[in-house]
């Protein structure tokens, strides 16, 4: 199952990003330890970035999203795609957030 985490940079060691639609990077990991970071093309968009970012990560095959906070439009888009969303926060790495998720310590958002 593919998991998407919002990050300030590429890869697992970059800082976790609390914003969703304007997160600089989306980092995807899957069950086979596959790793991919995608630069978010919507960071400077004037509007509608939440749903578009949701579409982007769903098109990328993610089934789970871990981010800090979501607007209503992004949340509705993710819900329509059957995505599971978990929230985390604070100054930590993408890897640390994933560890928390795998340990079952993150709160589901919807």
């Amino acid at each position: 199952m593919k998991i998407c985490v919002t990050g300030q940079g590429e890869g697992l060691q970059s800082r976790f990003e609390e914003r969703f639609g304007r997160a600089p990077f989306f980092t995807f990991v899957d069950d086979e330890n596959g790793l991919e970071s995608l630069a978010n093309p919507y960071t400077d968009g004037s509007g509608g970035v939440g749903p578009r970012a949701a579409q982007l990560i769903m098109d990328h095959g993610a089934k789970v999203l871990i981010t800090g906070r979501l607007g209503d439009n992004a949340a509705n888009a993710l819900r329509s795609g059957g995505m599971k969303v978990y929230t985390s926060g604070g100054d930590q790495s993408v890897a640390a957030v994933l560890d928390e998720y795998r340990a079952g310590r993150l709160q589901p958002l919807q």
Binding site: G47, G48, G50, Q55, N73, A77, S80, G82
Partner: protein, 284 residues
């Protein structure tokens, strides 16, 4: 002649100028005032009289036929506004975010998309004074797409006669829509750093759009060097100065007009119109 009144900064006195200008000119000619501040229209407060006719404003939104849709997602990839998102059961529309560009319909390889009208606001028309037609655009609560309501209000106004367009604050899409096809613009400001900051933005917009403009300084304490220096630099004429005067504020707060109570103010606003017309002439 279409005169747009804008400011950049909110609360500088756009509607005060628009209402007094409309009232003063309506004494001698036919005038249409269009309230283009559709999120918070307020010209009607100064002109409450007369029967009101209303027209609904519709925008087109897509409807997807689930029997024809094959979930390919072309529509949602095309939508730059994030209004269409491909979910598990087909495209989901967030109607408030739709800009009615109709692109999703064009790109759908299945021809699964048709359109329907959706009400987002209304335009009201009244004749509060013998020489004055008031057209008010009102965006429904919870809606965000102001430009279609402004466009409809402007379409209804008779382009043949003198039209005063009272804009919303700022310089975003609603102001650009208001300024389209304007022959001249009046930039209302106040002599404060905030007033100047937003006047600079507004001045850039009218310059880019090629609309001849003049500045009205409202609530002037007589020390307007800040604005004056900027206007000189940009060759923007100051075409009226309204003093910071408790009496004017009191009239305004009652919903009345200084030009209705004091004929000398009516003359000053007629002079403002002449100077604004001259701006247009100077360009031609």
């Amino acid at each position: 002649m279409r005169i747009a009144i804008l400011s950049g900064k909110g609360g500088t006195g756009k509607s005060t100028v628009a209402a007094n200008l409309a009232f003063s000119l309506s004494q001698t000619m036919e005038v249409t005032a269009v309230d283009c501040d559709v999120e918070e229209p307020n010209l009607h407060i100064f002109f409450p009289d007369g029967d009101v006719a209303e027209e609904e404003v519709l925008t087109l939104v897509p409807i997807v036929d689930p029997d024809l849709c094959n979930l390919c997602g072309e529509c949602s990839r095309f939508c730059r506004y994030g209004a269409l998102v491909m979910g598990l059961n087909g495209p989901n529309l967030n109607p408030q975010m739709c800009h009615s560009c109709r692109g999703c319909r064009l790109v759908c390889p299945q021809d699964a998309i048709t359109e329907k009208g959706r009400g987002i606001g209304k335009v009201s028309i009244s004749h509060p004074l013998s020489g004055l037609t008031l057209i008010t655009g009102t965006l429904n609560e919870g809606e965000v797409m102001a430009p279609p309501v402004i466009k409809k209000a402007k379409e209804i106004s008779n382009s043949g006669q003198l039209t005063i367009l009272d804009s919303s604050p700022g310089i975003a899409c609603p102001v650009i829509e208001t300024l389209q096809d304007a022959d001249a613009a009046i930039l209302v400001t106040e002599s404060t750093p905030f007033g100047l900051h937003d006047l600079e933005l507004a001045a850039e917009v009218v310059k880019d759009m090629g609309i001849p403009s003049g500045v009205v300084i409202n609530r002037s304490d007589g020390r307007d060097q800040l604005i004056g220096t900027f206007c000189k630099e940009k060759s923007l004429p100051v075409i009226m100065t309204i003093p910071f005067d408790r009496k004017i504020a009191q009239v305004q707060n009652r919903g009345d007009l200084i030009s209705r109570l004091d004929p000398s103010w009516s003359e000053k606003f007629q002079e403002l119109y002449r100077k604004t017309s001259d701006l247009k002439e100077a360009v031609q």
